[in-house]
Amino acid sequence: MRLFDKNTMVKSGAIDRRSFMLGAGAAFAAGLSPRAAAAFDRADALFGASCLRPDGRFGCAVFTDRGELVSSLALPDRGHDVAFDPRSGRAVVFARRPRTFAIVFDPVSGETIRTLTSPEGRHYFGHGFFSPDGRLMYATEHDFDAARGLVAVYDVEAGYTRIGEFDAHGMDTHEALLMPDGETIVIANGGIETHPDYGRQMLNIPTMEPSIVFLDRKTGDLIDKQLLPKALHKLSLHHIAIDAQNRVWFGGQYQGAASDTPPLVGYARAGEPLTLSEFRPAELASLSNYIGSVAASRDGERIAVSSPVGGTLMIIEAKTGNVLKRFALKDGCGLAPDGPDFLATSGKGAVLRLEEDDAPTLADLEWDNHILAL
């Protein structure tokens, strides 16, 4: 399976249903209950996301783009993003910061296969991905006493043993993805200092320094680090997606005065300064200085960004940076490619196929910020 083929690579682990069925997906479908199998059969794709369940427990769910549940598992606390390895058919859900668990599970049954715990002095930042051969898993982590972001490396075949860590060259290392070359890790460092002793409080706003960093995935060597212009140092960069031209689109969360109207979206390429997109004032205003999630379409020609604060989803043409479409979705945040379009979820339970006139589905739970196309 050419998971990281330039044409299909949109976000780590994202593949179309056909490829999925050719690989681990066949076994996946065979293991489903009749109802879930029927749901799967109708679906263009499957998705995984953390959630708050109706029983009041945090969990992780696998579902179709019509909001039908395929499986779910309870989590010990709030989860964040999900990573998927199509070779083994296993998924991992990472704890939301500053928590210390990651759970390997079977998306077919929702069965927990293994619970990982970050080492002493570290917690997960909530994102991760697998190497193309499925042998290694990478997770963003926090060395919190030193306020240092890391990408930790886990050996999947050795039972997810943590075999090393790379310096992320910044604080608040949030989302990390593998570039389409299969060799380069790209990292969004939010730049904000936190420490579990102080909950989720931000401790260094006046001096924060977000960055986009490129690392060699085998050696951890720094390939490039790009900062925002000084005037934008309070634009925390947490979320990224890669387009068809290997540009890494980022969405920012502004920590400065609300009277400021900084650009919120842009893209990075190793060796080049960051490029910021200009939106019209009304477009920018609808994002409320906060982007919660970024995703690329399967063909990499369009980028979707969401603002749960502004209740806005926006689709951008990657080539030009122009806004193609805007949707309103209260507390809408989760985004993933779905067929030629995008799927969106909200903290109020919505599952919405963008670009369709279909009524959205309202799930009986609350979705966390991200969805992953399995």
Partner: protein, 391 residues
């Protein structure tokens, strides 16, 4: 349908009006943006547990908060900073024990005034890092402390010039630095000419806090074209204040931010799990023995905001009891404060005295829950599961 299954459109039984209402409300939020105004109003009307207050009523609460709490609160900070600045001038002119006492007294008043409004974390206080420059806390890795000590030991003259000081690290130009000047190692030198440099540094800090507070006050004073107008006349083109709900959310956010900060930044780190793991030096203003003063002012400020804004008037009638419930907890906090004798550094390390602080933590959690999980959703402001900070 099991509790964990998904409610699809077909799965909404017609005999469940609550769900239908929610779903209808949900649909209303999904139309393309240009059609937003009408459906948004329908959305509010269709939810019985959400306030039916009008835009005007919501904006009245915002006005009340600005006029009855924020503006007078910052005016008090300016007054107290003038006093502190004057007291530092006197001390530098005449270094004597009595003037040192006056300067310390004025510092205490300034801490009190600032704490009263410190959880207003929007508007002019966010510009030019003014809030962080007035108070940078916690200084988790002690970097600010080292910088202050280096200024004093190295007699860095540039730190005594207001313009140069303002350009230095946020940690060396505000209340934390002034506390160290007045109470840190070597502060007794302020009683004599030996402390001249230290005093002039303190004088510059007090002057800096005064000019920062004045700038904040001026920002709020503008009736036209400033933050007050933006919040009380929200417009679709404003990134921060597009609707009355956005402005109201900012006001309610003061409580939520405040109680979270009291819990996560002020109490929990210093208290630790037990008296043995307590870290009294993590208390804000522990050197000046003002930890309790600051904490009490935090509560008083939030209570004043609750009263002055009359935010509880927006609650749906069936939930009006929440006002009394919140007031009851504010009173519990006050009664608890009356039982605590400073210094807090001793309180956190004493098995017996800790009880009152432990109870205060419970009160903080209760208030936090009432504002974030009850009042806020009842006002239709629930930020939702996704719209939390950062992730």
């Amino acid at each position: 349908m099991s509790r964990t299954s998904f409610a699809t459109r077909a799965a909404y039984p017609a005999h469940l009006p609550g769900r239908r209402a929610i779903f209808g409300a949900f649909l209303a939020g999904l139309l393309l943006l240009p059609a937003l105004t009408g459906p948004a109003a329908a959305q509010e009307a269709s939810q019985p547990d959400v306030t039916s207050a009008t835009r005007e009523q919501k904006l009245d609460v915002v006005w009340n908060a600005i006029d009855g709490y924020i503006r007078p609160g910052y005016a008090n900070v300016v007054d107290a900073a003038e006093e502190a600045s004057g007291a530092m001038d006197d001390l530098c002119r005449l270094p004597a024990g009595e003037n040192l006492e006056d300067a310390r007294e004025a510092f205490g008043q300034l801490v009190n005034a600032w704490s009263h409004v410190e959880f207003v974390q929007f508007g002019p206080v966010m510009e030019d890092n003014r809030g962080s420059r007035i108070l940078f806390f916690p200084d988790r890795r002690g970097i600010g402390l080292k910088q202050v000590q280096a200024i004093i030991s190295g007699k860095d003259e540039s730190a005594t010039l207001p313009k140069d000081l303002a350009a230095k690290s946020v940690a060396v130009q505000g209340l934390g630095a002034l506390e160290y000047v007045l109470y840190g190692k070597g502060a007794d030198s302020l009683k004599t000419k030996d402390g001249n440099f230290r005093c002039r540094y303190g004088q510059a800090i007090a002057g800096n806090v005064l000019s920062l507070a004045t700038a904040i006050q001026n920002g709020w004073a503008k009736d036209i074209g400033g933050i007050a107008e933006r919040m009380t006349d929200p417009k679709a083109t404003d990134p921060a204040y597009r609707s009355a709900d956005d402005s109201l959310k900012e006001i309610v956010g003061i409580f939520i931010t405040g109680f979270e900060a009291i819990r996560d930044l002020r109490l929990k780190p210093a208290m630790g799990e037990s008296e043995k793991s307590a870290k009294p030096k993590l208390l804000l203003f522990y050197r000046a023995n003002l930890a309790l003063v600051a904490l009490r002012a935090d509560f008083n400020g939030l209570k004043d905001l609750f009263t002055a804004s009359n935010v509880a008037s927006l609650l749906p009638e069936a939930h009006a009891y929440l006002k009394d419930s919140i007031q009851f907890e504010f009173e519990n906090a006050e009664l608890t404060f009356q039982k605590i004798s400073p210094p807090l550094t001793k309180v956190v390390t004493s098995t017996e005295d800790r009880q009152s602080l432990t109870y205060l933590q419970i009160v903080v959690d209760s208030l936090q829950t009432q504002f974030a999980n009850q009042l806020s959703p009842l006002l239709g402001l629930s930020s939702g599961f996704s719209a939390l900070d950062g992730d």
